[in-house]
Symmetry: C2
Subunit: 703 residues, 2 copies
């Protein structure tokens, strides 16, 4: 969808530099100089009441004195002056403000920042920043920033939340030979945020890959929506994944939901490819910006050295693309282009005797072969070959193959000659890397992209009918009691309202009621104390299981009541829950947190040691569609337990996926009510036999 | 220990080139040219019966015609001529043969290779190769290879099993700015192997770090011994760790012991630092060759950019060096060298305003501070600073600090100017990298080195007295029966002979014997079928547990016999084992394989799902000293189970460590007898209460 306001902001046809200066060293001078040096073709209007002209360009005392229209204003005046110029900018009808000025929320001046955005928006003007380096675009030869030059041209665009890193990476584009069309500094994200820019770049004809350096989102859910709708590859490096800072939380789920895990889950759901570090961000960006997605798992590797072939094979397995042998016809053909002791299996080892022709013939044939879905070509610099000639042979073969819908990456291990050859390859659209595993990792990111697109193409609608009003009524009653947590019985009523199967549980206030309920539910039963003041029921001696008859019920009632009173004399005791005793099944745990960035987020894991010892859990931001729920079941380490181990039947993964959807629907629908929740344990039975939520807990948001 | 034969081979004072040629394109020409171009100062004797001189140097028809002494002969004649020249070389008293010639075991001609080594050794001559690129040494300006030039000078030495990779890496030393003193191509390792060269390099005054590219060892145990004795850092990239190729094996342990896991364990035991890929091998080599070990975990990071600081913090946690806040006095001092909004905690953020002075002052002070045990300095290229000046300020501060026993690494993120500055830093002994996480990973390898040295300094002697003869007697009897596996009772006798506590188990041939044994052992008992033909006793209905009295024993005896006969009518039934019923404990599994490369290798893991589902096991090559055994307990994912979870007592890890030592002693002592073994389950009790081996299995080597 076109966004004309952002067009004005990010590809302006005319700019005003508010705070332009003739004094070298000032940011208002750097921006002017960079605009001119960059070769910007649009109109430049320096604004400064005390100058006639700056760097040979007529200067205006105020933006209102400019007669032509202005698309964007770059702000470099001190923060205390920004409010005043915003009015002038708004009145002039300027659609975009690129606010380089710092001194806002990053140093605690949150109100100043809010006022800026409010005022700008009131004129229909959007704000990028404040506290940014600026915007750079090769297509527009627009360097509206204080970074000294435009980046190496290319087809990716980078959005960075760190200004210092953006300047450093700008220079690094040349040494790392990874080109960008746009560099966008996003700073404090007071108004325009990652979601806005991702959507806009997805429509930018000069961007083929969206590269993000993220420290944190303001609105995670908006980002997920924008990223999911994008059709171009998005790759992100999320900084700040160390353990410290996981919020203290009342529930089990809360304590397991560190920021790193939730961000990881959210980016995965959003279809965003993740980079492990800066090198990886650059390396993957190069492949994603130059090559088409890899549509299947058939990766072929061609090499002239056994050693790099083995390293690439290891890397392929690590990257989730384990090599398979090439089909017989491929092997037969390739055998013609290698000596007797070469290998045509996979990796295809042309041996150190391989020259330009063997490389060319092998690449042309195998890239065009329908079996091949991705090709990695490796080359070890030798004394008898010239890296540039090998590079040219590869490029020519790729062109002659006529293939345009499969990716290729290349690795040359060698010295300066190889560097020059790789630079040439990159300039000609073939991503080239100095190590074999990096070439494999890069092509695996193209495979990941197509896998993610296939997944996110599937529905993400909440998947169950539910009775929101019934759930809210339960919560209203608890709040009316002055409580901010539900009892087990209440929590199960809420779960039930969203279609989740819970063990039948009813409240008995007297011994006789308990007997009547037990008879109605059917023996054996479980009995548990119900009191908002007793959260750890077992510790209080408040739980009795496998009660087989009326005598048992009467004894249990007396004992539990006695224990509860001894445990906490002042406890408000609602009574005793009489509960269906669920047969044994595989224990799993579901839970939720209301993440400060992403909102309602669901956790799933196996119970017992898997969660207690191994922290073997996985997260998704709600809602979770069925396919994503199935993926959650598969991505925990204990997944084989659900698939059935040692000849056991598989567990009912379908029912479990449904409950994950229902749970996610519940926490989303009740996002203003539920702070945290657990269903622990949930007992899952054999395939076809469903599951039961045995214990439930809901902690309400404080109101 | 000095090795004069290897001195002759690797640092010859005079060389003969057997097969020297005047024809460009021939290897015998390349070697001559490379020796001359490299600037070799020793005598060069070309050997070729049909030339007078080659490249201006007098040529000899045979090495026996050379009048001076010859330290090493470089062989480039075709493989069929090698046998003949070996005699001449041997008679001449040449101590080293550098056999570049290929066409030996790598193409199946194993006998030719064995004959070569046998003949050479008979003269006291050692063979490097065959099938190698050669030997290169900057110190000796010796390029005895067909790689076209000497590598960038440096203090590391590289040993490579891949010739193609060695040539390519030779060139790459210049572009990656990682210097080497020696490059040694090791090829088929017919005689001189990794162990020999590691020992020799450890004594080489011009080598400070030993860098290995390994595809596979011939004798893994010799390598471990050599590496463990070395005092210099050794770093290895092991290629070929993909899953395929794990041998089919009869035991549980066998199926879990993939080559990658056993190599990983062996390198760890050997004190060898492992690289994950080629880039990592180079990056870590640079730090290990230029900087001292890091003796503690206190890592300080200084930066001018928040973004790279956060990335480095993440990397530090990944690398096992999570950051701690700097002490108060350090913070107080550093606060003087930054603006108000900087941070003196850790990372120390000097902010984008940092210039040469702030960098210099901060580095000088904090590197010298006793709290700091390692320092990483990060720099993001900015418009207001000059990378070279920052580099010089860092170097000057390091020198002025007077510190020589702590490591420092540096990362500059930027363009060409930063590249030049980093090159200067490396030339001046400070490892510098283009990404912050790489600088952190590099310093973490120096921490790993000192941790490993501390471990391998501890004893590695087998740790228990044992009765080898008793064990061998049991095995002899089984072999006399024509069997190649032991029964459970026999296996337990063997385990007992090495001091391991097993459940009392005796064989009853009749019902009455069973009753008598049960009374002797004490109720309750377990009864199990004993038959070399029934390996899966439970499946055969051959196990009864918790038998409480005489009646139970009689019933069980009849039932088990009946079941066993139904299961396999022809089974050779020895009788029924009557066994002490061990109380419940934490299940662990021990096992062993006789690894083709490393010999007897022990496996440890927790039982049940940990081994079945999670493959959560760890390996060591026997013998395993007590400290290594303790490390094994800590390195499985389920380690918290042994430490005690949810308020439980810790398990008896001391007893378990002892049993690991005893088990490793057993498989080493009986290495010619035992193919594979399992103790599964072993029940481990609370701290101080020991453990019991409940079931045992030994599969003998076929003889």
């Amino acid at each position: 969808m076109k966004n004309e306001v952002l067009d004005s902001l990010l590809t302006p046809k005319s700019v005003a530099v508010v705070g332009a200066s003739a004094t070298p060293g000032k940011i208002g001078y750097s921006v002017m100089k960079n605009l001119i040096d960059g070769g910007y073709k649009g109109a430049i209007y320096p604004i400064n009441p005390s100058a006639e002209e700056i760097l040979g360009i007529k200067c205006y005392p105020s933006i209102s004195d400019v007669s032509g229209s202005v698309d964007a204003a770059i702000i470099t005046v001190p923060s205390k002056l920004v409010d005043g110029v915003t009015d002038e900018i708004g009145r002039k009808g300027v659609k975009g403000m690129i606010v380089i000025t710092s001194g806002f929320s990053e140093v605690g001046n949150r109100d100043l920042e809010l006022a800026l955005v409010k005022k700008a928006n009131s004129y229909g003007t959007r704000v990028l920043g404040p506290n940014i380096v600026g915007v750079l675009s090769n297509t527009d030869k627009f360097n509206g920033s204080f970074a000294p030059f435009l980046p190496l041209p290319g087809k990716a665009s980078l959005v960075s939340q760190s200004g210092a890193l953006l300047i450093a990476l700008d220079a690094a584009t040349y040494t790392r030979r990874v080109g960008f069309d746009k560099l966008i500094s996003i700073g404090n994200m007071s108004d325009v945020d990652f979601a806005d820019i991702v959507s806009w770049l997805d429509n930018d004809p000069n961007t083929s890959c969206i590269t993000l350096y993220i420290e944190g989102f303001k609105d995670g859910r908006a980002f997920i929506d924008a990223a999911r709708k994008a059709s171009k590859p998005i790759i992100a490096l999320k900084a700040g994944v160390s353990a410290h800072g996981a919020a203290a939380a009342a529930s089990h789920t809360g304590s397991l939901a560190g920021a790193a895990k939730v961000y990881g889950a959210a980016l995965q759901q959003a279809g965003v490819i993740q980079a492990t570090d800066l090198d990886n961000l650059f390396d993957r960006t190069l492949a994603l910006s130059q090559q088409p997605p890899m549509k299947g798992d058939n990766l072929l590797i061609i090499t002239n050295g056994g050693g790099v072939g083995v390293l690439a094979t290891d890397a392929a397995e690590r990257s989730g693309l384990p090599l398979k042998f090439a089909p017989a016809d491929v092997q037969l053909e390739l055998k013609k282009h290698m000596p007797e002791f070469g290998s045509a299996k996979n990796p295809v080892d042309l041996t150190g005797m391989a020259g330009n022709d063997w490389y060319g013939d092998s690449v042309r044939y195998s890239f065009a072969h329908p079996w091949t879905e991705g090709l990695v070509v490796l080359y070890c610099e030798t004394a008898i070959t010239d890296p540039m000639q090998i590079a040219q042979a590869i490029k020519k073969a790729v062109d002659e193959s006529g293939v345009k819908d499969k990716p290729i990456t290349v690795s040359f291990v060698g010295g300066e000659k190889s560097e020059v050859a790789m630079r040439w390859l990159v300039e000609n659209g073939i991503p080239a890397y100095g190590a074999p595993d990096v070439a494999v990792d890069a092509i695996s990111s193209l495979r990941e992209f197509s896998r993610m697109k296939a997944l996110s193409a599937q529905t993400t609608e909440p998947c169950a009918a539910f009775d929101s009003e019934a759930a809210r009524e339960v919560i209203r009653k608890a709040r009316a009691d002055g409580r901010d947590s539900l009892t087990e019985i209440e929590a199960k009523e809420v779960f039930s309202a969203y279609g989740m199967p819970v063990t039948s549980t009813e409240l008995a206030r007297t011994e006789d009621q308990a007997v009547a309920l037990a008879k109605k539910i059917g023996f054996p039963v479980v009995m548990k104390i119900v009191s908002p003041d007793i959260l750890h029921k077992s510790d209080a001696g408040g739980v009795k299981v496998n009660i087989k008859d009326e005598t048992g019920v009467r004894e249990a009632f007396k004992t539990i009541m006695k224990n509860a009173k001894e445990y906490k004399a002042t406890a408000d005791i609602h009574g005793i829950a009489v509960q269906e005793m669920a047969p044994w099944g595989t224990e799993v745990i579901l839970g939720s947190v209301n993440d400060p960035t992403f909102g309602p987020t669901i956790m799933f894991g196996l119970g017992g040691i898997f969660v207690e010892v191994l922290k073997d859990v996985t997260f998704r931001v709600a809602p979770v569609a069925d396919t994503q729920a199935r993926r959650m079941l598969d991505e925990i380490r204990g997944a084989p337990i659900l698939a059935g181990v040692r000849g056991e039947e598989a567990r009912d993964r379908e029912a479990l996926s449904d409950v994950i959807c229902q749970y996610s629907t519940m926490i989303l629908d009740l996002k203003d009510e539920i702070a945290e929740s657990d269903a622990n344990p949930v007992l899952v039975y054999e395939h076809g036999s469903g599951l039961k939520v045995v214990d439930a807990r809901i902690i309400l948001k404080k109101k």
